[in-house]
Symmetry: C2
Subunit: 490 residues, 2 copies
């Protein structure tokens, strides 16, 4: 039982495997990694400490990037008057459908006991819990923007939003989720467009450089745009089942919202003009995407640069007599790692070593260090990379380990990123048009099909999309607008 | 107009003054400092970037302290089933009254146009937007805690909550507000009590050492306890109008919630036992308290250690020819300050210098640096402390300023803290009983009246409290439980 490599060969830590049942594998990975669970509130999840710590790392780093770009954080109300939602014609169609509606402001004892909404406390105008904040932030912008001198106005908030969902899955589709939402107003159309490109560039760089998370980036087709936008750019990631997950979007709202809400200003020419606005976001959904992109049949693999725990140290205690000295040795290693800026944890719990080892595997901790009597006597450690498993098992002296650990974490990151890029490329297939799309999915294959954009004009496309539940994902920048990706999606 | 000292003598930046109309002065300070504003959502505020930056500093620092104490952050649902709220008898009385109630999950077009809640989408059981999360977190704890090995369980979340308010004031009383809420479960009553004392100790230290915010700390009287708690410890701060503001509380919930929700565990003796739980919080309300404790008739005074901008540099441009060199000189000073870890901003906007100066005053930036041609030629700066105004005007060389700036910021902090402590002590009056309380408030005086705790048993107390709208604030630890503070409060 002390040889993880042997055990890894014998069975997988997660049942079922990805091959056997991908959706069920996903749920089991989330559970085994202790990242989140369903709550008694329909469609709302509890993000557990380990999942939250990952989200905190993702927010802290990216928030600093947004500030470097000149974004100011602020906070706008959770509730939105229903009349606000109705201001932008497409927006209302896109969001009014499934919203949590607040109709009363008090409970009272009901006739059958229990508590019921108090009739006397019925609101004149109901509110919805924000599904997104374009309208309420736009309303503030309309007050704050008077002159071109007030522009650009670049705002962001990290908050919770709610879109009522009937079929929910942890992180991927929940009624309440957390995100950041940026909202900017500019003098010119050019600046607004540049903003959506710049922020998508930040997303791409952050996803790749910190999350080892890869995807295709490009404009969405008209039908897939954010309701009310003149252009939406998407980051489309491929999950290990070949489905697409939209992991971030930036929207050029043109003057649609500024005209309906009244964000106008006196321009440099003295004339009144409407601002050009944008909005953009990524959410806790990306956590689900990271599980489905990085995880394997033994559970989660945390990308090292945002991992809540980068290195775990397991003291392998054989006899109680030597336990104290071994713990001291492990703690000393951990202290030195901390000084080097590594997020390290010593698992000193009173549990069997194999159980601790498997927990570390399932939680996806990038580097696992095992220290027994023999290692201590040689002032050495044995370490294993989570992404490579037994093949990476290495023994070296403690000074050597301290010198190389940040390089090892980089190697894990780079390994994940290149593996994911290869998977994406290996599962993206070129086609000439609708019939190639149909043949591909009719054969039970999964992945992205890349076809010429002219395919969008083919009337036969809709039928094939309906038949196989496909959607257009984006028109990748790398294909210079000449191709469009078609896939099943989350 | 270029002499701020003279102008400060001539008039105040805020109208009315504190003396003239304290509540109105408060609203004007919030507005002039550009920290927050009312929103179109009844009772909900918009926290503007400058106010939010202060809150971010307050959360970042304190969050690290909580982590040092072993707290794990997590995230629990925004919505709470009404039946949950009803689980703890006192709790339901305390919180069910004024809640935002979610009754529908969809809108549809109404008969008269517009959008109305869809009857077909009425929820079987309504939800409330969390007024606090004891019940929903307790429900999770009941699942997570099985054995004494699972304890202590120490959780926290930074989030938004909602308690419907009819009369609202920015920061002080808003329907939606932001806070952190800690929720812990322990094996023993002793540990739970120690937790409430420890965390209150953290609050006190944080408030004093970072916010220059002082107050009295001690248990609340039974009637002022959190609904469902066996003990509540409060941090009671005195505002400049002599009213009390409860700025933080820690609650020992005993086994009330664990018994009603079912947080039980197998103890060390093998027997089943109920956990002892606690909860504690401070909120954006403290921002309002800081304004009312630190501000003066020229506006906000930001406590330096959490100030979004600690030092502002104003280039005093007399002729356009020298403007470029002067800006370079100012930017160089700012770069050197940044390297020293100072939050600095150069106000390079195309505006009149006196307007910039007054804006810096009203925003309460702790140190204002003015640099004109003369200063540049002598490689010097002139700086003014916000808390002392003209009397603190000092000219020194740039190297001298760089060497002393962190000391100056400490001086501002210490100056505010000792001034606030003195104000608190000068306005706390000892009395012997109910008649002294009555005489004090009947004479139109304001402040805290400190009387022997035996006064609480005097039946005449209720009448006096009602007459003058007084409440018991806390029984300060420093008086060893022998005294109780009576005051008007926010």
């Amino acid at each position: 039982m002390n040889n993880p490599a042997k055990q890894q060969n014998a069975r997988t830590a997660i049942t079922p495997t990805r091959e056997q049942d991908f959706p069920e594998w996903y749920q089991e990975v989330v559970k085994a990694a202790d990242m989140a669970e369903n709550s008694p509130v329909r469609g709302s999840m509890i993000i557990k400490p380990y999942g939250w710590a990952l989200w905190e790392n993702m927010t802290r780093i990216f928030d600093a990037w947004l500030k470097d770009y000149g974004i100011q954080n602020a906070y706008f109300p959770l509730l939105i008057p229903v009349s606000f939602l109705a201001k932008e014609a497409e927006h209302v169609e896109g969001f009014a459908k499934e919203c949590a509606v607040v109709t009363h402001h008090r409970l009272e004892k009901g006739p059958k006991g229990g508590l019921v909404p108090a009739e006397a406390a019925k609101l004149e105008e109901p509110y919805v819990i924000r599904p997104t904040s374009e309208t309420i932030i736009g309303d503030a912008m309309a007050r704050w923007v008077q002159s071109y001198r007030d522009l650009p106005l670049k705002l962001n908030q990290w908050n919770n939003v709610m879109r009522w969902e009937m079929r929910t899955r942890l992180f991927l589709r929940t009624s309440e989720f957390l995100w950041h939402e940026g909202h900017c107003a500019f003098e010119t159309a050019k600046e607004a467009e540049a903003d959506t490109l710049h922020v998508m560039g930040l997303y791409k760089r952050f996803f790749e450089e910190y999350l080892a998370f890869t995807g295709f980036v490009g404009p969405k087709t008209a039908e897939e745009r954010f309701p009310g936008a003149i252009n939406t750019i998407g980051f489309e990631a491929m999950m290990q089942d070949g489905k697409a997950l939209q992991a971030a979007t930036t929207h050029d709202l043109g003057q649609n919202f500024s005209k309906s809400i009244g964000i106008k200003f006196q321009g440099r020419d003295g004339k009144e003009a409407f601002a050009h606005t944008t909005s953009w976001a990524y959410s806790t959904r990306t956590l689900g995407g990271m599980i489905m992109m990085h995880g394997d049949d033994d559970g989660m693999i945390m990308p090292p640069r945002v991992a809540p725990v980068q290195v775990i140290v397991l003291p392998v205690i054989k006899d109680e007599a030597g336990a104290g000295a071994l713990m001291d040795f492990c703690n000393k290693i951990a202290d030195d790692l901390k000084k080097a800026g590594v997020a390290v944890k010593v698992d000193s719990r009173d549990m069997r070593t194999p159980d601790k080892m498997w927990e570390a595997v399932k939680k996806g901790i990038p580097v696992r260090v095992e220290v027994g009597q023999r290692e201590m006597e040689a002032n050495s450690v044995t370490f294993v990379r989570r992404d490579l498993g037994k093949d990476s098992k290495t023994t070296c002296t403690v000074p050597e380990f301290l010198a190389k650990v940040s390089g090892v974490l980089d190697d894990v990151h780079n390994g994940l990123l290149s593996r994911n890029r290869k998977f994406r490329d290996d599962n993206t297939f070129d086609g000439k048009g609708v019939s190639d799309i149909k043949d591909f999915f009719a054969a039970g294959k999964m992945g992205f099909v890349r076809v010429p954009v002219e395919t969008l004009k083919d009337e036969a496309l809709e039928k094939v999309k309906d038949e196989f539940k496909l959607s257009t994902r984006c028109m990748p920048f790398e294909d210079e607008g000449k191709k469009v990706l078609i896939a099943k999606s989350y």
